[in-house]
């Protein structure tokens, strides 16, 4: 599995997109995602698979937070923190990229 890096967290208005990839929903709520250029899959777990799915249609931290606020009672700051961490891990694993 790919390791997470330590780059700066993504900004909330920047737009991101998922790169071309294949994926599998595997046991215990985990998701394997592999970009077409990678040799091994990245494992997503916890809330990351949900954020990964939302990233398919919502390209910024703000948009994803707005979607998650409809489902969870946590404060926007707490949700945003989780979303930033997840997106950063997607960027580090090269399964998502910034839209330029």
């Amino acid at each position: 599995m790919s390791e997470q890096g330590t780059a700066l967290p993504p900004s909330d208005q920047t737009r991101y997109q998922r790169v071309a990839h294949v994926e599998r929903q595997v046991a215990r709520g985990r998701r394997f995602v592999q970009s077409l250029d990678a040799d091994t899959p990245t494992q997503l777990s916890g809330s990351a698979p949900m954020i990964w799915d939302l990233l398919a249609d919502h390209g910024s931290v703000d948009e994803i937070v707005a979607m998650l606020q409809q489902q969870f009672s946590d404060s926007p700051d707490v949700i945003a923190g989780g979303v930033r961490v997840a997106i950063q891990s997607f960027l580090d694993a090269a399964i998502a990229e910034e839209v330029t």
Binding site: A20, H21, V26, A27, F32, L36, T40, P41
Partner: protein, 355 residues
Amino acid sequence: MNATRLAERIASLGLPGSATEPIEVDASTGDALIAELTTNRVLGLFVSGLEAGSVTCDDGVADRAVAAHDEVMSQSMRIEIMAIRASTILSDAGIDHRLLKGAGLAHTVARTPAERSFRDVDLLVSAADISKAVQVLIGAGAQRLQPELRLGYDQRFGKSVTMRLDDVEIDLHRTLCPGPFGVWMWPNDLFLLKDSVTLGNIGIPTLNRTDHLVHACYHAALGQVVPVLSNLRDIALLAGVGGADTYDAERFDETVARWKGRAVVRRAVGLVQSRLDVDLTTSLISYLHEPVNSSELAAIDPYLTEDPSGRFAALAPSTLRALPMVDRAAYALAVGLPDGTSPRDRVSALVKRRR
């Protein structure tokens, strides 16, 4: 219940007619069952059964099954990426093709792709294109694993050309099976209709559902003496279980009749019925009761050679008989005296092959 029977029950999960009570796996059977399910490419059904509560076992067996399934899925994803790459290479070269079997079925027929694993990439190209397709893949870095027996053999007689690219095996098919049933089929029929499966945001051409079912039957009946359970489940899923066909039964019957394949479908349906707990559609069940030409029935025998290394030699005589007269000399020459072998070496090789 032994591991083989347990695997059959697990391969039947979710199919109409299968048992609804939970399948209990005891610790002493667990590892043998995981191996059996992996070989039969249905480990994903065990894992999804665990999550749904339709399979129960102790935590140790569950952990080992999940770890094994993770590994299988990693391999399948790698192969899926190669399917995308190979298909793109062929498309860029203007070569029409169809993705066959595992990678195509995992995303279209299986309940989820995680329930259907596969080990290689299978692509169908027309006889007219196979030499070009081989060259194009070689140009992309693939290696051909066996040389062509004689110039033109691939296009006239070969079932497939096996290649390897980045340690992934690619089978470039001209027909769906070797031997007489390969001679009797009309592979160009499979290019008349086309479905598509989206892999990695790319649309990959694949067989029409009815053609997938024809292929699944041929693969199950003729591919191995004991077919893997995923192939049998494919047949049940493609046919539509529980009374309603989800394929074009009329077209299926016409194809099977034209390809002299009634005995093939009869054997495939019999295997599904004997190993899976499933109510197949009446259209398929009818193949068990309809009369079959005795020469078609007899043609199955050489496919059921226990020793896989002896299969080519076992099929050669019946292939020769099935070929039109005009092709027989060329086939016999290619099989008996391939390019690059002296007659003495070839005789020696054949003797070794038969042992």
